[in-house]
């Protein structure tokens, strides 16, 4: 792995790259918060809060555009090479993925009004924990990006299984509820989608981990040493 210890001869280059990293961090923080908020609103049936989550998604869209603009500008003006180039390309790709994670938060928030009057069923209590793992993956993988920490990215990938397991068990639980009482079908279907969205957040965190690994090492995560072939 190559560490980029010293700064560029041209200081403004460092500042540009730092600014790009800061934007990604900011986006990650927002997306993480949105998912958490959407889940809180879902559990507490907070329609007003859900509306705010939906509105806040606009901020992520704008940040994504800003990241794209800065990344393109940096490529055009500074002609980054090697690790710098991989960083900028990763930032460009990660911003798109984080924006997508924000969309999932918005999607979850949009279901809150539809569930306002529904009684709470047991699988609902599993979802916040699932969301916590998924958002912590997003949090940690973006920290790994800022720190250029490939091992941390690998550890994030390994946690995706927990999210998938949650998804499976929630699916089975909801299916049981639907079979038990047809009145639960509406709510259960919505919660099924929420679980699916959270599962996708975990997958996206894994995707970001792959980008972070490549940016930091120049190798694809699938080829990392010590990894047993599937």
């Amino acid at each position: 792995m190559q560490q980029q210890a010293s700064g560029h001869t041209i200081k403004a280059f460092d500042e540009d790259i730092e600014r790009l990293r800061a934007l990604i961090s900011e986006m990650g923080g927002l997306a993480e918060h949105s998912i958490g908020e959407a889940m809180r609103c879902l559990v507490q049936r907070d329609v007003e809060g859900a509306g705010k989550v939906i509105l806040d998604d606009k901020k992520l869209d704008l940040l994504e555009i800003e990241t794209e603009r800065r990344a393109v500008q940096l490529i055009a003006l500074r002609a980054p090479m090697a690790g710098d180039l991989r960083d900028v390309v990763a930032a460009l790709k990660i911003s798109g993925v984080v924006e997508r994670i924000g969309d999932y938060a918005k999607n979850i928030a949009k279901r809150v009004p539809m569930l306002e009057s529904a009684g709470k069923i047991e699988p609902l209590s599993l979802l916040p924990e699932m969301a916590r793992i998924a958002t912590s993956m997003v949090h940690d993988v973006l920290d790994a990006f800022v720190e250029r920490d490939a091992p941390a990215a690998v550890r994030v990938c390994e946690r995706d299984q927990a999210v998938d397991d949650f998804s499976d068990s929630i699916f089975r639980a909801l299916l049981t509820h639907m079979m038990e009482n047809p009145h639960n079908i509406g709510q259960s279907a919505h919660l099924l989608f929420v679980a699916k969205n959270l599962e996708r957040v975990g997958d996206h965190a894994t995707n970001i981990a792959e980008m972070v690994y490549f940016a930091a090492t120049g190798h694809h995560i699938a080829d990392r040493p010590g990894k047993s072939p599937k």
Partner: protein
Amino acid sequence: MLMKEKQPITPVTPMSTTSTAIEVDANGKGPSMMDDQGRAVKDRDTVCDPPEVQRPNLSMSQLSNIQDTSDEEIGPGSEPKMRANEVSVSYGDKQALQDVSIQIYDDLVTAFIGPSGCGKSTFLRCLNRMNDTIPSARVTGCIELDGEDITTSSMDVVQLRARVGMVFQKPNPFPKSIFENVAYGPRIHGLSSSKSDLEAIVETSLKRAGLWDEVKDRLQESGTALSGGQQQRLCIARAIAVDPEVILMDEPCSALDPIATAKIEELIHELRGRYAIAIVTHNMQQAARVSQRTAFFHLGELVEYGRTSEMFTNPRQSRTQDYITGRYG
């Protein structure tokens, strides 16, 4: 507008390794999702879990091997045109180059990069014994051209320089006509049997150097009357007129404007395959553009030598990384 701007960011790459080839978006509200999320709408059709997607069991490195363009490949068993083995050079007491070993191949352009004083020009000049002209220079090690050691005293240096031509940083046409500039080499090396033969060589050389159309009506004008870029192409025509096997270029574009530079770079591209080319350049973008192999020199050492595409995306040595990303040098 928003959607259009987003497109470049989320390409569906065929090389994606994730197990989620199909995006699944849950949406219970139908058309309301179309408000501002173009992608959400796009994904709306597939709300059920995709079956396990069968993927070929290939690692990324295998994939990239498959997709590697033959552009950079050298055939197996292909012999290098020139081979330097543990070449060291000193000027008096000062060691300029230490144990450099490198191969230069026929079909590839090899770029030498590195900060000023790193020895890259010194090394280039070893390849046709231009350092012989500097009394204090002492060269050790072995340099072979087609397997023949060129550093021995029995080597005919004039013949060697006909086989290994050179183009310098500053265009240096002779103060003679354009025609004479190109015809000089073939004439002294006895490469033409008649006047028409010589004229044909001059025309071919000027054509290969991409200068013919600009000068064909004024071949008797002085070479020094041409623009800088034209003069440099005239020097390249002069170098290729003696039908060399290798062309060495020492910062051929550093005195030229971007258009003239682009013409020279295009020329290098066209000449590749016909001649083995080695180029010294301070412009890393230029090295990236014109070469297939890059050698990075630092403080008289060859730090790293490899495929240009790898050197500029994922160099192995931290010194290379620091230099090409602009961290020192």
